[in-house]
Symmetry: C2
Amino acid sequence: MRINVKEAAEMLRTHDNIIILVHSNPDGDTLGCGYALLRALRKAGKKAEVMRPLNTGKKYNYLFDDLGKQDFEPEFVVSVDVADIKLLDTDVREQYGNRINLAIDHHPSNCVECKNLLLEDTAAAACEIIYKLLLELGTELDKKIADCLYTGISTDTGCFRYSNTSAQTYRFAADLVEKGADGAYINRIMFDTKTKSYVILERLVMDTLEMHFGGRCAMTHLTLDMYEKSGSDESETDPLASKTRQIEGVDIGIFVREKTDGTFKISLRTLEPVDASKICGMLGGGGHARAAGCQVEGTLAEVKAKIISAITEYLGQ
Amino acid sequence: MRINVKEAAEMLRTHDNIIILVHSNPDGDTLGCGYALLRALRKAGKKAEVMRPLNTGKKYNYLFDDLGKQDFEPEFVVSVDVADIKLLDTDVREQYGNRINLAIDHHPSNCVECKNLLLEDTAAAACEIIYKLLLELGTELDKKIADCLYTGISTDTGCFRYSNTSAQTYRFAADLVEKGADGAYINRIMFDTKTKSYVILERLVMDTLEMHFGGRCAMTHLTLDMYEKSGSDESETDPLASKTRQIEGVDIGIFVREKTDGTFKISLRTLEPVDASKICGMLGGGGHARAAGCQVEGTLAEVKAKIISAITEYLGQ
């Protein structure tokens, strides 16, 4: 059943011993939601715990490093920023996946089976919804809660860069900064810090830069040996996909990454009007208009030839 | 004489034929101020012109590309975001430097000799002051004015990343987005677009990465031959200075750049509590606590040795 912020607040007010679920490979938004809500609930005298995934990045420590553990018999389960129970860690999914009382989310694709769904898909970050919820609950916002909520808002908007950033996003950020959120610190940790291994990996990848279609298409690749040379690994490859599209004049950026199983993952990033999902669709993949991907088999040269020929076909249409 | 926003608005209301001065090597804030003000004045039926510097980057075209030229005998001169008349283009300084009626700025160091000074040094961007001024003037904000003001606010805060970003900054951004400012477009142009020559230059510079002091200090250098190899030039070197400081664990980032006169420019970027200005001061330079610079003579190896030894001395104190 779809419910609104007021109803969700009432539900939290009348329950205790609350388990909060965040998605696997957690990002700033799901963790920001989880710990802002946990802090608000504990402030209200309730017991609450976030089921924190094992692979939570160290950079998020400040969201929870002052919190103790609470043991209790779970009575009420809330998921935050989880679009699908497949996105929960396996053990969490098995334990709580079929007993979610309240799902709070901003993904239009949300398909969590739950008793109550608070979904606002115009929110740039799920933390915007949690902020409204805490206002409704009458929570006194402290610096720590403000840091949590700011983290979600900033990370899910690429530091206010993406087109999902709305007037509401900026207004909430203003409120949170007034409540003590340390935007400069959070943004430095989230957007302005790279590991040395990543810096070396990026250099190796950028060394492979090649241009196609008269400069409107740029391509780089990553081979497994680069992990060894840089000390990096797959977990650090995410930002590499968008590097080629950032080059002036490029509206099709391609990043080809060798996987440990010998296949290649192609990531496409485009500018309007090039539809990345259509191009990747030709190779059995999919995604969004501006960002899509596909898995391709073959040698590196064959894989590159396949994507170039898919783009040739797309552009010729 | 220091005046406030209300007084500045009254002054503009009672004058016509207004020349607006922006600083040389113009950035998004000075140009955003200039064209927002020009548009507001023209909307009020006045004649106004910005003295646009010759070396204005092409990426700023959207701020003024719809505007025609107006010829008139200048009666009132306003400078925006200009801290010192030395920062004006030479011909503009000669023509208008000693007849500035109103200086609008946010630099605490402002030393423009002018009849009236509207200075708010808590504003992250001078565009925040211009926004207040236009509200006071009763200007109806359209999309173009909103784009101009948003550009200044976003660029002077590093897209809301720096510690100068205040609650006011976010609130003004919210208002401007509501008035039609295209934040996603502006931020892509300002923060997410690199020339191919810059991408190649960055790669060449990052190839020179060396670590010192157990990983807390990272250094790169740029030599003149890299301009030839990359097709880039001095105008693109600004972002390179902060690349080393971004590496995890690094609190002293050094960038050594060879200049055409054979000397080297050292740029230092630090994290608290390392004082970059003290270190550069030892070599005859200066700046701020987190960002400072100095000019050093010698071979590349000698210059590097000098800065490393200055840091050794600083850290030993």
